[in-house]
């Protein structure tokens, strides 16, 4: 068997999921695929449990907000196959008004806190997550601060008002 690389990985995925993979890219050598949210758990499960691929390590789950797009929230998964020394990135774009996606806690227990963090900062609701609440910000915060419609700065700041700088 050849050493697993991005091309072999892509053909394996293409064989197994002929219609599911929407887009592929390889920025800086990191193989990246885009998947629909209804198939993300299937694809993750295949990558994790396939005897050859063995992407057993979930490096991170996070999100990106693109306010100008129709599907404005991109949920990003990073997986690592230790035995093959290979990484893969999966992106799922979902509706920003009602961001819901199945939870990956069915595959990795460690997804629990990553999904809580993503919920905390972007408001993405992971369905069937065992305990989806804020993890880093204070509990009574009312916004999801990494979404672009909310200001980064604190409104109570007094010494950065424009008139102090002649603006």
């Amino acid at each position: 068997m050849d050493k697993l690389n991005n091309e072999i990985l892509f053909s394996r995925l293409k064989d197994r999921f002929p219609d599911t993979i929407l887009n592929t890219d390889e920025p800086y050598g990191l193989f990246t695929i885009e998947v629909d949210k209804s198939h993300i758990i299937e694809v993750l499960e295949f990558l994790k449990k396939d005897e050859e691929l063995q992407f057993i390590y979930l490096t991170d789950i996070t999100a990106v907000h693109y306010p100008e797009r129709d599907l404005s929230i991109g949920v990003v998964y990073h997986l690592h196959s230790f035995v093959n020394k290979l990484r893969i990135r999966l992106k799922v774009f979902i509706n920003g008004g009602n961001p819901e996606i199945p939870s990956a806690t069915v595959l990795w227990k460690g997804a629990n806190w990553m999904e809580r963090e993503t919920y905390d900062f972007f408001g993405v609701r992971f369905l069937d997550h065992p305990d989806l609440n804020r993890i880093l910000n204070m509990d009574d915060m009312e916004v999801f601060p990494m979404r672009k419609e909310y200001p980064l700065e604190d409104p109570n700041r007094v010494d950065k008002k424009d008139y102090f700088f002649g603006r």
């Binding site: 910000n137 204070m138 915060m141 601060p145 200001p151 980064l152 604190d154 109570n156």
Partner: protein, 184 residues
């Protein structure tokens, strides 16, 4: 011969074998020279405070020999470092657990105004949640600056009313912060 300089006595009436002054002044002098600090250190200003407590700068010279680490037995709360909003209720609880009379020094830019952390997760100065007596500027301030802040607080303590806790201004101030004041 010793080169230790004694503090000046408060103004009063002196005669053979007696010295009379007002109780306010004596108590103020006693309080000012035994301020027990409660260090609430969350970041680099706390490191400067460690130098301040160390032998070179020696905060103990000013009667602050015993860092308390318990709010119940301390007079001077030193808040040193960035206070995240999630930490704010903890800081407020520490302050309310301190017995009167109590004073607060905000050490460094973060505790005074949020500093460089103008962001959604950081408290923009601890005076949003508790009253502050002295602000020490610097990022972080040198130990000399912290000592200067403590000496300024000593001046406040010497000159303020013995019963500050019962003055209507003080009660109004605490009520503005939502802190209970029914302490007799």
């Amino acid at each position: 011969m010793t080169n230790i300089k004694l503090g000046a006595a408060p103004p009063g009436v002196e005669g053979a074998g007696f010295f009379a002054t007002s109780l306010d002044k004596v108590i103020g002098l006693a309080r000012a020279n035994s301020l027990w600090p409660l260090p609430f250190a969350t970041s680099c200003c706390g490191i400067e405070f460690m130098a301040t407590m160390g032998a070179d700068y020696d905060l103990a010279r000013f009667g602050a020999e015993r860092p308390s680490f318990s709010p119940r037995q301390s007079d001077m709360l030193l808040v040193m470092g960035t206070i995240a909003k999630k930490m704010a209720p903890v800081l407020k609880q520490v302050y309310t657990q301190m017995a009167e009379p109590r004073w607060v020094i905000a050490v460094g830019a973060c505790a005074s105004s949020g500093g460089i952390f103008d962001t959604y997760s950081v408290l923009q100065g601890i005076d949003e949640i508790i009253p502050v007596d002295v602000y020490v500027p610097g990022c972080p301030p040198r130990p000399e600056a912290i000592l200067d802040g403590v000496m300024r607080l000593q001046e406040i303590v010497k000159n303020e009313s013995l019963n500050r806790r019962n003055t209507p201004e003080y009660k109004a101030l605490l009520e503005k912060y939502g802190i209970q004041t029914n302490n007799g």
